[in-house]
Symmetry: C2
Subunit: 341 residues, 2 copies
DNA sequence: TTGAAAGCGCTAACAT
DNA sequence: ATGTTAGCGCTTTCAA
């Protein structure tokens, strides 16, 4: 209420205003060390009255402790990463730690840049999506000397620790389910995959399992950008026109699956009789659709929780030494779009 | 490649490895001041070889410049804020500045906490959603001495600058459209509003305009939490059962509107003949729906862009003195769910 | 329980 | 074009 000039307040200002040494002010403001109730009160009053906001930059430099956890994800736009973030926040809220998110747009160069930027703030840990990183990124993470948790995926070599699901296995499981339901002419729709390693791995697991059963993908279509719901619709229309004999459509994510579902229902196609459908992620949105789309839960929130717990534990000095790979098991929901076996 | 101990590298390490003074190393690494190509090369080689990552904490303290912009939003979960963020990032990418996001979950106390936390990192600017903040938050923002842009809404008193739309006016416009299309028995569905000031303001603008035309909201229903699509479906079912004579449903956001739309179509209800529908936000998802839902674009990306531009300009010393309130105009899309006038 | 001194790793401002 | 000096605002360490 008193600081009319633009200079931000310092500990010294509070010290002078309260007649207590800077050091003791610092102790009060951090609840560290023993301070008499009287001085504590004086200091707190002064700090509040002045509107003092501590300078974490200086604090961090002096203590070489930064209570930040870098969280690096490809995108905020598809609902899966916000859910991971929610899991992370939930855990870190009971902690000194604070998540800071960086977005890569699925671009390795941007990942490298964001990572460099975040590491230059000397965070207490890194949570980063995926196991595929540029050599430079891997080097930075290794050198950093802080806990690193790679999330979402476990099919690969973690730098330090990883928590996620096996996307190859997820693809395989869904293929098995589809095969055992008796579907034979299967079409696939998904993102253009060079970008999205996890989608690619699901696709690989999927096709390989089909192959073992003597089935080949009968048609496929890829997209990028735009409204996923609309894309699902378009691609589905195109595909069933082009390949009218398909009896199953596998989508690499729920949004395009939902678009396809809506389209097919409008066309009066019998689902899952004439055509079965399945997708991936288990997003909340599916609950509001006319039919429950078959899907597989990606354990998003759980991944966030586990990752944050690992960072928090390591930060507290507890040695979680042992578990370098935490494997979660995605649950398959057959819903209403997959024939019952 | 050489740093096997855990101590992070310092400028001094690079200095020693390259035989160049710390100061010159610093200059090279920041592209500041004149350095001969030869030394520059030596330094860059050494830095890369060692895997040096600068310590921004120290840099920021020394220069009292932090290239961070605090972005404080209520949620990442509903697609509107990620789009604002995209606008912000787009602009800041051509800048030294970097956005750092904090989430409040629509809770004033959490906003206060997040704000305090972020200000303690001495960012170069703040972009914060809404015009409603606790007195303490407003005080912190005022004291901070940095540019503050309040976004999304303009119906109120900005602390410094604001950019957004008038939600009252948006509610009014939609009401006018509905009235002039001849609808008379209007139901409303939305979030529980104490939390969401902008939804409340739209509602106020909406009801007031109806009132002037002698119309009262015939039925209303509020929700919180859960899948918005599913909630829209449920609430709509409940409402048209309870009030079968309604001829229009106004939803406070697109997701519940979409849920309602899907439900009504399934029931074989004539839209917009028997019942007209409208919502708010203009989210991309609507493109994939069976009908184009009437909605109003909230100018999300544009808001992010403008806000970031203001911060960037002020940061560059350009005085944008003049414009303290930037008003954007949401466009109304009648779509297929509003009778043509 | 409180205070004084030293320094975290960098950069602004001066030398040279 | 390069180097030297003095802090930035805190916290750590040690002393009282």
């Amino acid at each position: 209420m008193t600081n009319d000039h633009k200079r931000p307040l310092t500990l010294r200002d509070v010290s002078e205003a309260s007649g207590v040494s800077e050091m003791t002010v610092s102790r009060v403001l951090r609840n560290k060390g023993d301070v008499s109730d009287a001085t504590r009160q004086k200091v707190q009053d002064a700090a509040k009255r002045l509107g003092y906001v501590p300078n974490k930059i200086a604090g961090a430099l002096a203590s070489s402790h930064v209570n930040l956890v870098a969280v690096i994800i490809p995108s905020l736009g598809n609902m899966v990463f916000p859910e991971v973030l929610a899991g992370i926040s939930e855990v870190l809220e009971d902690t000194e730690l604070q998540p800071v998110v960086g977005v890569t747009d699925y671009m390795p160069e941007k990942e490298e840049k964001v990572l460099f930027e975040m590491l230059s703030w000397r965070p207490s840990g890194v949570i980063i999506a995926g196991l595929e990183h540029s050599e430079a990124s891997r080097a930075m993470l290794r050198q950093s000397g802080i806990p690193v948790v790679e999330i979402m995926d476990i099919d690969g070599e973690p730098i330090d620790t990883c928590v996620g699901i096996s996307h190859r296995r997820a693809g395989r499981k869904m293929a098995e389910e589809i095969i055992s339901a008796g579907y034979k002419r299967i079409g696939f729709m998904g993102t253009k995959m060079p970008l999205d390693h996890r989608a690619r791995k699901r696709f690989e697991g999927f096709t390989r399992t089909l192959a073992k059963a003597g089935i080949e993908i009968a048609d496929q279509e890829f997209y990028s950008g735009g409204s996923a719901l609309a894309k699902g619709r378009e691609m589905t229309a195109k595909m069933i026109t082009r390949s009218p004999d398909l009896d199953f459509l596998y989508y690499s994510n729920d949004m395009i699956g939902a678009g396809g579902l809506l389209y097919l229902l409008e066309q009066g196609i019998d689902i899952p009789g004439q055509i079965g459908l399945a997708a991936f992620n288990g997003v909340e949105l599916l609950d509001g659709l006319p039919r429950r789309l078959a899907t597989m839960d990606a354990c998003r929130r759980e991944i966030g929780v586990k990752a944050a717990q690992i960072i928090a534990a390591r930060n507290a000095g507890l040695d979680t030494e042992n578990e370098t790979v935490v494997t979660l098991s995605p649950k398959l929901t057959a819903g209403d779009t997959l024939r019952r076996t």
